[in-house]
Symmetry: C2
Subunit: 303 residues, 2 copies
């Protein structure tokens, strides 16, 4: 069966208004302003803040109600052509089922983010709509190449990444919808109404700040839920700032993942520049891409 892409929202044009939303943890004003500058000067859009953009409710950018209301306005406002998340953290899964998606489903727009925003991507994928896994307001200034990749993704250009490989790479070539995101949130999403099948898809994974045993546990959950067995291919992104228990776990994150996919035969690439490091290439989740994996080089391209 030929893979079929999800619905692609209209590409953004120079000067388009993009809504900036806060769905997760509290946003820092300085970093928000740095992101705004890049959106306006480098990406060429106009940044429009949501109502709760700098709200503070404990560790959250506002109460659930404030966040839902502010996000809803951005989704429903026809002048807002795309939406970029301010920051990840925690909290998107607490509000995602309470949003009214009807207007958005009729008139999809690009939604951008990563980390906790994986929850939103999976929700949109469950509707059959593409969204962009890539830099957010607080990380836009981290890496020029990744910011350019986001501009390309938003404006409907072909994406073409040629990156270094890794000695763990399992060579091969495949095509499929690219889906994925933060491993913790992918495991967290299992069993929800926005849970999706990864069969015949190219899955990408990244995570930050987790205990190594927990990386293993989340891979066990993905595996036990049948999420790993029928992939077209696997892109292992960055696993940053991982933590050890008193007795070391005895394996690195890449070794853990390698072990979990050793019985399957699809191509796998490691240390792809997606995740919480400076480099974080934009991916249109739900787009059909071609993945070519060699030992020391990997290509991922729109087809």
């Amino acid at each position: 069966m030929k893979p079929k892409a999800l619905i692609s929202p209209p590409p953004l044009k120079k000067g388009d208004k993009v809504g900036i939303v806060s769905l997760s943890s509290v946003l820092d004003e300085k970093r928000l302003l740095e992101g705004k500058e890049i959106i306006e000067n480098d990406l060429g859009f106009e940044a429009v803040y949501s109502k709760n953009i700098l709200n503070v409710h404990h560790n959250f950018a506002g109460t659930d109600e404030e966040k839902i209301l502010a996000f809803q306005e951005m989704l429903d406002n026809p002048e807002i052509k795309g939406i970029i998340a301010g920051r990840g953290g925690y909290g998107a899964s607490k509000i995602i089922d309470k949003v009214n998606w009807e207007t958005f489903k009729q008139n999809p727009k690009w939604l951008v983010g990563f980390s906790d925003l994986t929850v939103v991507h999976q929700k949109l994928q469950s509707f059959g709509i593409q969204s962009i896994h890539g830099p957010m307001m607080v990380t836009l200034k981290d890496d020029k190449k990744s910011t350019t990749s986001l501009k390309n993704a938003l404006t409907g250009k072909n994406l073409k990444y040629k990156e270094k490989g890794h000695h763990f790479n399992r060579e091969g070539e495949c095509q499929g919808q690219v889906v994925g995101g933060n491993l913790c949130l992918l495991a967290h999403n299992i069993g929800s109404t926005s849970d999706i099948s990864f069969d015949n898809k190219i899955l990408f994974l990244e995570d930050v700040g987790e205990f190594l045993y927990n990386i293993d546990r989340m891979m066990v959950q993905l595996r036990r839920a049948g999420k790993l067995k029928n992939l077209a291919g696997l892109i292992v992104g960055q696993f940053s700032d991982l933590k050890e228990t008193t007795v070391p776990f005895g394996k690195t994150a890449f070794e853990i993942i390698e072990e979990h996919v050793s019985e399957f035969s699809y191509p796998v690439t490691y240390d792809f520049p997606i995740g919480h490091e400076n480099e974080n290439r934009a991916i249109r989740c739900g787009e059909i891409m071609k993945l070519e994996v060699l030992k020391d080089m990997v290509k991922l391209s729109s087809i």
Copy 2:
């Protein structure tokens, strides 16, 4: 519909051999011996160690293969009338799908443990077989009343707990299969082949050492997976040694749970003596019990 209990393995008799297994983290010899003494002197059984009982493989009580082999022997040996886990920790979900359950299913025996062992309980419940959530080797000496409750559970006696309530308690009365265990493992199990429905059941929850936001996240996962909406009742056990992030989460574990079940109307009791504190009453998972919740008192009894 009248609730129906799961299959009850035969009760143990004085002098019966019980297998001691290590399915999770490394076991400490001193504490193992303390547990053995209680099994033999207070419970009146003979303790038989599995092959890997004191094995060490990083943080695990042996490699997965060693653990599976040793557990399999205990499951299949007809002289072993019950099985008690040495300790929890992490690792049961890595081996549980690789065990051959055929002999056990034909001739079920009681299996005892908590924490990481929740994975095993859910597997057995998916087969329709009862098992005991209760003290393990390393906690047997912690509380006399709980050890007695384990003896009662293993020997087929009625269980009858009258415990203090909590000002959060939501009063009411219900009957149903009692199921549950460690919140982290219940969330982890979602989507696996041993995932079970909690509909019309009395669910109990406990956890230890987690960040408060993660308690919330796991409750979100249970809720999004539809696990909370059709309960007969909820028993909130102990939530011990919880951790805060730099910015406090702003709610206690009980407040988090209360919020997640506020839209439902079943009875809920808090701070029941199940979990990682000294007191840890034995529960036959899959047995029909009656739960009576008052503000300051709660009764849970076999019927």
